[in-house]
């Protein structure tokens, strides 16, 4: 059974979302847009955990807002995309561990920028203090050993923190033991961003009022697949290094480059597109409080991918050490902020999709 989160400072947003969801459950016109409405229709009463699950299932396509008869100034004052966005945002902040920094980087783009600068500083300092005696490519500026020592914990700690958050989420929404089929189902849905397709492939309502488009879906998937390619690139490099003693630098026709370069390009285009569209979208159909933090996060991802590409293009020039510090500094900031920035949405959304697959199967 989903938990009731009594006496928490977030319950106001949950209560407002519950009020709206109960009205939606009496209407049902939006049933065909996404997974949220069929999930609502399966229930009659909504515990706090149910609302949190619905909130994380919502992809903010906004179709329901523009189709709704009850948007303000109507006295029912429905704005479901915003109400669910508030709950969703707060759930990430509430379930972040340590909770004390759960909110800062979401709300304040400046804090995120400061983290980025700190990342640069760390890298410049490391390169200044621990300059290797010898090494090839960028290992000439920072040894492989130092990179491993810095980035292994910087990658594993955030994953651990996210794991802890997801466990708390799963408990809160009353999730059941996960079966392989549920994961497959969630991967399929996320892989096509099915919940942003408007139900019939017409896309969502984001950048141009009530007109539908697939632009946001396409840009988002460029970022997602770009990120996965970049991640695969790093993984392949690690395997080549340890498994086959093939050390960087790698040529263009190597696995890390063949994966990393297109990944970086996709991420650059995708993040630029998302940022551009965010400028013309209506802030009030999202969580307006975190607009700045979201923008800063998109900018950070853009910078990570752009600096990575530039670093590759600058191979053999004098710009390498500077670009290396900038790129690795950004990557460091990005990794460490994963549990406390918009990046965490992907993990929660995936968990919500898994739970939705369970509930569609009739699991308790």
């Amino acid at each position: 059974m989903p938990e009731d989160i009594t006496l928490n400072p977030f319950s106001e947003a949950i209560d407002e979302a519950r009020r709206q969801v109960e009205i939606c459950n009496a209407c049902r016109y939006c049933e065909g847009f996404c997974s949220v409405f069929p999930a609502i229709n399966r229930q009659r009463a909504f515990a706090d955990g149910d609302i949190t699950q619905l909130a994380n299932l919502c992809h903010n396509c906004r179709g329901c807002y523009y189709a709704c008869q009850y948007v303000p100034p109507h006295e029912f004052a429905l704005n479901l995309p915003a109400a669910l966005n508030d709950v969703r945002q707060q759930s990430w902040e509430r379930l972040a561990r340590p909770q004390a920094i759960g909110r800062l980087f979401h709300e304040r783009g400046v804090a995120l920028a400061a983290a980025l600068v700190a990342g640069f500083a760390v890298l410049f300092a490391l390169m200044a203090v621990l300059q290797p005696e010898s090494g090839e490519g960028f290992y000439a500026y920072l040894s492989h050993g130092v990179m491993v020592v810095v980035f292994t914990p910087a990658f594993l700690f955030p994953l651990f923190a996210i794991g802890v958050s997801l466990r708390a989420y799963w408990r809160e929404i009353g999730g059941a033991p996960v079966r392989f089929g549920h994961l497959v189902n969630a991967v399929r849905s996320a892989g096509r961003m099915r919940n942003l397709d408007g139900g019939q492939g017409q896309g969502c309502n984001f950048e141009d009022g009530d007109r539908f488009s697939n632009r946001r879906r396409v840009y988002h998937q460029m970022v997602l697949y770009g990120f996965l390619l970049a991640f695969a690139s790093t993984s392949s490099g690690t395997i080549m290094h340890y498994g086959f003693a093939m050390e960087a630098p790698y040529g263009f026709f190597s696995l890390p480059k063949m994966l990393g370069v297109p990944g970086g390009i996709l991420m650059c285009i995708g993040t630029a597109g998302l940022a551009y569209m965010k400028m013309s979208a209506d802030k009030h159909l999202g969580s307006a409080r975190v607009w700045g933090g979201e923008m800063a996060f998109i900018a950070l991802l853009f910078f990570v991918s752009l600096s990575g590409l530039m670093l590759y293009m600058a191979t053999g020039t004098a710009a390498v050490p500077t670009l290396l510090a900038l790129h690795l500094g950004a990557v460091l900031a990005f990794f460490l902020l994963m549990p406390y920035s918009k990046m965490v949405h992907g993990f929660f959304r995936f968990a919500a999709l898994v739970r939705e697959a369970q509930q569609r199967d009739g699991m308790p």
């Binding site: 109960e22 049933e31 065909g32 329901c64 523009y66 709704c68 008869q69 009530d210 007109r211």
Partner: protein
């Protein structure tokens, strides 16, 4: 030309002025604009409330000879016409009715081609999956799609534009007087399509027609259908159809807003309840038939009770048997407390329910079919789903009549042309609720209002385009 938000209304060169901004108006405007006509839509609502009652609709009743889009199986002309005859008890114009039904089949692909998206029948409405095509997102999504299509075709739209007078010189329309955001304007046009709905939002008019009890009615749809153009045309000797004193009303949650409560205020609990009036007395067989076949009579039944109010009472056994509604029921552990919480005599309520419980007979209860579980020796009887109300907590909903639409309208012929007592008008057509009484003279058929609006909107648009 993309006309966003406010369009300046220049006073010349309009081939067609469309009065109204709902489904029928938009269909007419789109058809005329596709023939190259210069079209102006005058919508009395502000942009956020545009679309009249179409905003609240959810489906389109459509004839089809085989599976069509989201519609299953077939729904042919004769069956459709029989359904119409059953609800109207013959108060229809067979020629116009058959025309509407036949044309509906061509409308569906046209609607899809002009931006409307359909979805399979909504949960809880499977009984309509063969006859009614549901709009993805409901009627407002349809309205949005049509406005976007109209905008792309260069149709000009002015919101907050209330037409006060449609000027006729003999048999010809020449101009409209319109109040746009408080300013009076006179706009000339070569032809006019009147698609501004019925008069159900004009409470004074309803009171004149119904008597003082109409003050307690709730209006389920838009507050902008005040019948100003209908009244203006009747004053100019336009021929009318439909009983001027009648409106279609259903029983809805008594706590609904005065206007625009729409779909979520409906209550489906009546068949599993007993319904009492202000004095705690029952007045009609709650279990006469399945709810989709009976909800339309309950508006009238409640309207006939003192203070136009009823109270539907269930116990905890029945709470999950019907669709949830927008307001939670009033809840109490005893019937006495429930009565007091609802504002009626707890004693009377308890007495009525005790009599009812004593009249219930053992048998098998089937919520989804006529189960014949009837009371014995009770007046009025409850002929199905009569289970004792004896398991606390008890729940109560207040019922009020909710007006959906009015029947009085302009008489039109099969070209949608408006007639006066001296004959047809040369350049005025009507479509939608303002003329629906020609076809639906009585009763109600789900999704048929949108069919009339679409069919006659398209006809009116085509005729007006040919005229200009």
């Amino acid at each position: 030309m993309r006309t966003k938000g406010h369009t300046s209304v220049s006073n010349d060169g309009w081939d067609l002025i469309v009065v109204g901004g709902g489904n029928a108006a938009l269909c007419a405007a789109i058809v005329a604009a596709e023939s190259g006509r210069k079209v102006l839509i005058l919508e009395s609502a502000p942009k956020v409330y545009r679309g009249g009652n179409s905003r609240h609709t959810r489906n389109f009743r459509c004839m089809h000879q085989g599976p069509l889009s989201v519609l299953t199986d077939a729904y042919e002309e004769d069956e459709y016409f029989d359904d119409l005859m059953r609800v109207t008890k013959g108060v229809t114009d067979e020629k116009l009715a058959r025309l509407t039904i036949r044309e509906s089949e061509k409308c569906l692909p046209w609607m899809e081609a002009h931006g409307v998206r359909f979805q399979p029948s909504l949960s809880g409405t499977l009984s309509l999956s063969r006859t009614n095509a549901f709009f993805l997102g409901g009627g407002k999504a349809l309205v949005n799609a049509y406005y976007n299509t109209a905008e792309e075709l260069g149709v000009a739209v002015v919101y907050d534009a209330e037409v006060r007078h449609v000027h006729l010189e003999r048999d010809r329309f020449t101009y409209v007087d319109v109040n746009i955001r408080g300013q009076e304007h006179r706009i000339f046009g070569k032809s006019a399509v009147l698609a501004s709905g019925g008069f159900q939002a004009d409470l004074d008019w309803l009171t004149r027609a119904w008597g003082p009890s109409a003050a307690n009615f709730l209006i389920r749809g838009t507050p902008y259908n005040r019948g100003i153009v209908l009244r203006d045309m009747l004053d100019q000797q336009a021929e009318s159809v439909g009983d001027p004193t009648q409106c279609h009303a259903v029983a809805i949650d008594g706590r609904a807003p005065k206007f625009d409560g729409g779909i979520v205020t409906r209550l489906d609990c009546v068949p599993f309840s007993i319904v009492v009036n202000r004095d705690g007395e029952r007045f009609y067989d709650e279990g006469e038939d399945v709810w989709p076949k009976r909800y339309a009579i309950w508006g009238r039944l409640v309207a006939a009770q003192p203070e136009q109010v009823g109270y539907s009472i269930i116990d905890s056994k029945s709470l999950d048997l019907f669709m949830p509604s927008v307001f939670p029921p009033v809840k109490a552990d005893t019937l006495e407390e429930l009565g007091e919480a609802l504002g009626i005599s707890g004693n009377e309520l308890q007495k009525t329910i005790a009599e009812y419980n004593a009249a219930c007979r053992p048998g098998t209860f089937h919520p989804t079919e006529l189960d014949g579980l009837a009371t014995e020796g009770l007046e009025p009887p409850k002929t199905n789903w009569a289970r004792p109300i004896d398991t606390p907590p008890y729940y109560g909903y207040t019922l009020r009549p909710g007006v959906t639409f009015t029947y009085l309208g302009l008489k039109v012929d099969e070209t949608a042309r408006v007639h006066t007592i001296s004959g047809p008008l040369a350049n005025v057509w009507a479509a939608g609720e303002i003329m629906a009484g020609s076809i639906l003279g009585q009763g109600y058929l789900a999704g048929f209002g949108m069919t009339i609006g679409t069919v006659f909107g398209r006809i009116a648009g085509k005729e007006a385009a040919n005229h200009a």
